[in-house]
């Protein structure tokens, strides 16, 4: 099931790349591939690179559709069958990790962390950089990782303190202070 999902995701992502490549070719043609004197123009590299992206992406989609087996890592060809098998066995993602979480739970965590990151970046202009990321640290540790509240706050305060000292004070980076003029 997982490999089918990955296959579909792979085809979808590569199709997006193909579309980006084609769009770049069209854009590049509008910028002008060659100048009047025959020299290359600003559109040359976008057309060339966009064309190559589209070409390889379409070719990759075809191979992904035709592929039946998992592709072999060429580096494994340098090892004999026994070592390659050992490496493959060790590289396999365990379903249950040391914290006893299943793959499904880890997938949920991943989605939660991505959501928290998007919210944090959106909140920087409102709350300020340090406060927004402070909330990110605590929420991630407590809600996603199920850590205790007090140690999580302590870790967040220390991490933010060090970050503020290094970037805000030593390097004098003007971190966004948000609507309320906080950190």
């Amino acid at each position: 099931m997982e490999s089918v999902r990955l296959k579909v995701a792979g085809i979808a992502f590569t199709a997006v790349l193909a579309a980006v490549g084609i769009a770049a070719v069209i854009g590049g043609l509008m910028y002008g591939v060659f100048a009047e004197d025959g020299l290359i123009g600003p559109g040359f590299l976008p057309v060339m690179s966009g064309g190559l992206v589209a070409l390889f992406a379409i070719s990759d989609i075809i191979s992904r559709l035709l592929a039946r087996k998992h592709p072999v890592d060429e580096r494994e060809l340098l090892l004999d069958d026994e070592s390659a098998a050992e490496l493959e066995a060790e590289a396999k993602v365990p379903d249950i990790d040391i914290f006893g979480r299943s793959q499904k739970q880890r997938n949920k965590q991943l989605i939660a962390v991505i959501g928290i990151l998007i919210a944090t970046v959106a909140l920087v202009e409102v709350l300020g950089f340090i406060l927004a990321f402070g909330i990110m640290l605590v929420v991630t540790a407590v809600l996603v990782e199920r850590r205790k509240l007090l140690p999580s706050i302590l870790v967040a305060v220390i991490a933010l303190g060090v970050a503020y000292l290094v970037f805000g004070v030593l390097l004098r980076v003007p971190l966004p202070q948000g609507l309320f003029g906080m950190f």
Binding site: F13, P42, L45, S49, L52, E74, R75, Q109, A159
Partner: protein, 502 residues
């Protein structure tokens, strides 16, 4: 040569540079052993911290992170069978088995000794080879430079692992991303969609932080973690027989590592795999391989360190990065206003030789740090990842913001973080994309100059014997490995068939 070395020592042995070298190797070791962080990520995240330093000091520190991470990456390979660095993947085979037998200390000690010996051998070779190569490259014009860049891109793609066309696709995507903004020599803004932040192009530090740091953290969250094996100080004592068994593998590994590392893009990962494969064939103790053979740790560890140093030959002499981390370092050069390439040896001798000599100092510091302190470093693996990765994310975003004091950088890190995660999940190589992005502006400049020299025609590239040779090499690297692989497969199948008939 002697004058250059003296100049290098004078530059590297200042108090400030030694302190930053120490900070670099220490942070490199820690970064290398942290799951989800590698030398490329570490260098990318920490570039913003070095913006106020002198270029030579900044590069000494960043290079320290690079080779320090090679040492640190081994600790996780041995103790939790999770390589901190791709180049340490093969070390998990025997290193982890040694650790399970209570010989984690010996595995860590031999990897530190092997890495040190390999570093010293490869540095001597690097110092001997890079300047003449740079002298040769000084005769290169735009046509040859264009051919060199094509060669660099092709080699990175062919050695990136996985499918060749996926590598080529990612390298082309890197080139395409580099076209955003106003290019030098043109007045037209490309693909900016009216956004003023994009006029200057897509900044690669933010792209790298996103792809490597954020992308890797997200990937680690999905795959989960393994339990570490504890190691003690008294386990660090390595026996005489173990040292004797490791001597030849270390020298063989150093040679293989240097030869592969010198090729732009081949990198230390391939070197470590090849060193392990060869050692398994030639070793007297080949029966122990996979069950905790010390040779299986010594050879790949020596190889990956030698390759890491050899990577600097094309980076410094030709301006073509040897791998992912040297691509990031190449980007750092341009941030400090330096143009990497053959001219660097002439215009910035103190910087180049100071940097090279600092490798010696850094490796001595690493040996002193790693031999007695590997168990202490290993304690860091006990920091719960649930606390660690939010801090890595904070450092990534605040670091990216500080490059240009702009929220656009933060948004870019988020976008490329998600792209990096998807790429990792789908097994799409990141190094070719980074190389395409870094080389893009130089590639376009060489294209413009070549078309001007040829008055609009690119056939001029076939008129220069040097560029023809370089392009033939590029064709070989593009198709050679696949062809050789097919021939080898056919031969093996034929042999098996013959054996069956017999």
């Amino acid at each position: 040569m002697i004058d250059n070395l003296i100049l290098g020592f004078q530059t590297a042995l200042t108090f400030e540079n030694i302190v930053w070298c120490f900070i670099g190797v220490l942070m490199g070791t820690i970064i290398g052993l942290m799951p989800g962080l590698g030398s490329t990520t570490g260098v990318a995240i920490l570039i913003p911290l070095t913006l106020t330093l002198e270029p030579v000091t900044a590069l000494i520190m960043l290079a320290g992170i690079y080779y320090g991470a090679q040492y640190g990456g081994t600790i996780t390979s041995v103790l939790i069978s999770t390589p901190g660095e791709a180049a340490s993947v093969v070390t998990t085979l025997d290193g982890y088995q040694m650790a399970r037998k209570g010989r984690a200390g010996s595995a860590l000690a031999i990897s530190a000794i092997g890495s040190f010996v390999a570093a010293i051998i490869s540095l001597a070779l690097l110092m001997a080879l890079a300047p003449p190569l740079a002298d040769l490259a000084l005769n290169f014009g735009p046509v040859e430079n264009l051919a060199i860049m094509i060669l660099g891109l092709v080699i990175v793609v062919s050695f990136a692992g996985g499918s060749l066309k996926r590598g080529l696709m990612m390298a082309s995507l890197g080139l395409l991303i580099s076209t955003v903004g106003v290019a030098t020599g043109f007045s037209q803004a490309r693909f900016t969609f009216g956004n003023v932040d994009m006029l200057g192009g897509i900044p690669f530090v933010e792209v790298m932080i996103g792809l490597f740091a954020v992308g890797e953290v997200l990937y680690q969250i999905r795959i989960g973690a393994a339990a570490p094996i504890r190691t003690r100080f008294k386990d660090m004592v390595i026996t005489k027989s173990e040292l004797k068994r490791s001597a030849a593998p270390i020298f063989r590994g150093s040679g293989i590592g240097f030869l592969l590392g010198i090729l732009p893009g081949a990198g230390s990962t391939l070197a470590s795999f090849m060193a392990y494969g060869i050692e398994k064939r030639v070793s007297k103790n080949r029966g122990e391989f996979g069950r905790g053979a010390i040779e299986g740790v010594a050879a790949p560890e020596a190889a990956n360190n030698a390759a890491a140093n050899a990577n600097f030959v094309p980076t410094l002499a030709l301006g073509i990065p040897g791998g992912g981390t040297t691509a990031v370092l190449l980007g750092a050069f341009t941030i400090y206003g330096l143009q990497p390439g053959p001219l660097l040896f002439e215009t910035q001798p103190a910087l180049v030789w100071g940097l090279l000599v600092s490798f010696f100092i850094g490796n001595v510091l690493l040996l002193v740090l790693n031999l007695p302190l590997a168990p202490v470093f290993a304690q860091m693996l006990r920091i719960p990842y649930g606390y660690l990765y939010p801090i890595i994310l904070l450092t990534s975003f605040i670091g990216a913001y500080s490059v240009s004091n702009n929220m656009f950088s933060v948004v870019l890190v988020l976008i490329f973080g998600l792209i990096g995660y998807v790429m990792k999940e789908l097994d799409l190589p990141v190094a070719p994309l980074v190389l395409g992005l870094v080389l893009g502006p130089l590639f376009e400049k060489a294209l413009v100059q070549t078309s001007a020299l040829g008055q609009g025609s690119f056939s001029i590239i076939l008129e220069s014997p040097i560029s023809v040779v370089i392009l033939i090499a590029a064709v070989f690297f593009a198709f050679g490995p696949a062809l050789l692989g097919r021939v080898a497969k056919r031969l093996t199948a034929k042999k098996a068939e013959e054996a069956l008939t017999k």
